[in-house]
């Protein structure tokens, strides 16, 4: 719609400028203007006594171009207009839409990238928070485990100590019993040996003085006294 309006404006502009009364060809004015110009040149250059041919020639040369600078030349309007309308149509129809499409695509891409970067950052932050929470949980869990281990160790230590003490007491008791039995056995053995030795000794000493019954009575009395002493 806009391009049509603009092209219409362009065509109207060409028409308008062409219709201007001052519009003239680039290569000179109308015949009347040229005639007047030549007439003036003749007048100007034949007034004095001598005729200035060079100035006259120059004036004639100027007449060929005698046109105001501000007179728009029709062919230039036509070619300029055509050139502008072509550039207007091609750029507005093809080049600028493609360029704008590209700019839009880049804008979208940048926006998309920024959004995805922002999303990625949010996700990373969430993950980081999650990891921090997990680390916190792990730490407290580790503390619990350490505490439990410590309690277990303490309990086991107590049990071991108690068991060791019980075993030690048991061992000591057994040892005392063994000692006692060994002592009793030793006393008994000793008693028998002492009796035998005493009998033998007594036999040798008093072999001929004492009868058997007296000897036994003496020995018994001796053993009893020995037994009382060892006890």
């Amino acid at each position: 719609m806009r391009i049509r309006t603009l092209l219409l404006a362009g065509l109207l502009a060409v028409g308008m400028v062409m219709a201007m009364p001052t519009g003239a060809h680039a290569s000179g004015g109308g015949p009347k203007e040229v005639f007047e110009c030549v007439e003036k040149a003749i007048e100007n250059n034949t007034e004095g006594k001598s005729v200035d041919y060079e100035a006259f020639e120059n004036a004639l040369e100027d007449c060929k171009k005698a046109k105001s600078l501000v007179t728009p030349a029709l062919p230039e309007i036509i070619w300029g207009g055509i050139a502008f309308l072509i550039v207007l149509a091609v750029l507005m129809k093809f080049a600028f839409p493609a360029l704008k499409k590209g700019l839009k695509a880049r804008e979208d891409k940048i926006r998309e990238d920024l959004e995805s970067a922002s999303r990625a950052r949010e996700e990373a932050e969430a993950e980081s928070a999650q990891y921090r929470a997990q680390i916190g949980d792990a730490r407290s869990e580790a503390n619990v485990i350490v505490e439990e281990a410590r309690a277990d160790a303490e309990r086991i230590r107590r049990e071991v100590v108690a068991r060791a003490e019980a075993e030690a007491a048991d061992t000591r008791e057994r040892a005392q019993e063994d000692i006692r039995l060994a002592q009793e056995r030793a006393v008994s053995d000793l008693r028998a040996q002492v009796a035998d030795l005493s009998i033998g000794l007594a036999e040798k000493v008093v072999e001929r003085n004492l009868d058997r019954d007296t000897q036994i009575a003496l020995i018994e009395s001796y053993i009893n006294s020995v037994g009382n002493e060892t006890r």
């Binding site: 806009r2 309006t5 603009l6 219409l8 404006a9 362009g10 109207l12 502009a13 060409v14 308008m16 400028v17 060809h25 680039a26 290569s27 000179g28 120059n58 040369e61 100027d62 171009k65 005698a66 046109k67 600078l69 501000v70 007179t71 728009p72 030349a73 029709l74 062919p75 230039e76 309007i77 036509i78 070619w79 300029g80 207009g81 055509i82 050139a83 502008f84 072509i86 550039v87 207007l88 091609v90 750029l91 507005m92 093809f94 080049a95 600028f96 839409p97 493609a98 360029l99 704008k100 590209g102 700019l103 695509a105 880049r106 891409k109």
Partner: protein, 258 residues
């Protein structure tokens, strides 16, 4: 006086022989050729920039995109606001085409801006004029004709003065001022460059009055260099002024309250 003798007739700076069809209505001279070449350059620039695209712009694509967006920011949005974006293709075409026909003024061996002839500025001014008037009627209907020249807030007594002034200003003078501003600036620039070039040539090469002239040659030459740079600025500036004024006028047609 000396300058007067040195300088050619001013018409010789602006008149060009026809290459095709001399002395006919379709005569193609230097101005027409420059207009057509500018068209080709403009189309090539934006065609390549618009169609052979990469996601990360380089080279011509970069120039085309930067140019288009510069017009969008500095003309469309600046003069018309968000609605101006729809008009950016038109403004960009206008700006770049005028710029390319202006810039011939400093292109070596061409050195003549096609806009220093009234034909093209007048044509463009007419395009601008018709565009904003047609847009006014399309957007506002028949009331545009009167509302355009009847500014609100003016006391009733002053309206007798203001309305005729506005009428002349908006309907008759605008195309003329647009055309003359562009044409006169480029013409003046071209004449200035020609004067400095001719002076430099006379002092450095011709030396009709003697060898001593060569000592003064650097002065006009420096002027020539400076004004060539200045012409470059003028070429851009005039294209911008023409485009933004068109945008302002169109904005008045689209938003009568402004």
């Amino acid at each position: 006086m000396v300058l007067g003798e040195l300088l050619p007739n001013v018409n010789e700076l602006f008149e060009w022989k026809g290459v095709v069809g001399p002395h006919t209505w379709y005569e193609l001279n230097k101005v027409g050729i420059m207009a057509l070449v500018s068209t080709v350059i403009c189309i090539a620039l934006f065609w390549i920039g618009g169609t052979r695209r990469k996601l990360v712009p380089v080279g011509i694509q970069n120039v085309a995109e930067a140019g288009y967006l510069a017009i969008e920011d500095n003309v469309s949005l600046a003069a018309m606001g968000e609605e101006g974006k729809k008009w950016t293709p038109f403004f960009a075409t206008l700006f770049f085409w005028i710029f390319f026909i202006n810039i011939w003024s400093v292109v070596p061996f061409v050195q003549f801006p096609a806009t220093s002839r009234l034909a093209i500025p007048l044509f463009l001014a007419m395009v601008s004029w018709f565009t904003f008037i047609v847009t006014g009627f399309v957007k506002q209907g028949p009331k545009y004709f009167f509302s355009n020249i009847n500014p609100s807030g003016v006391p009733f007594a002053l309206k007798f003065l203001v309305i005729p002034i506005e009428f002349f200003s908006k309907y008759l003078l605008r195309p003329l001022t647009l055309a003359v501003r562009l044409f006169a600036n480029m013409t003046a620039g071209h004449v200035l460059l020609a004067i400095f070039a001719i002076m430099t040539n006379e002092l450095a090469v011709e030396r009709n009055s003697g060898m001593f002239q060569i000592a003064f040659a650097p002065l006009p030459f420096l002027g020539l260099v400076a004004f060539t740079a200045f012409e470059l600025l003028v070429a851009v500036l005039q294209a911008y002024i023409f485009t933004i004024l068109t945008a302002v006028y169109i904005n008045e047609s689209v938003h009568p309250e402004h």
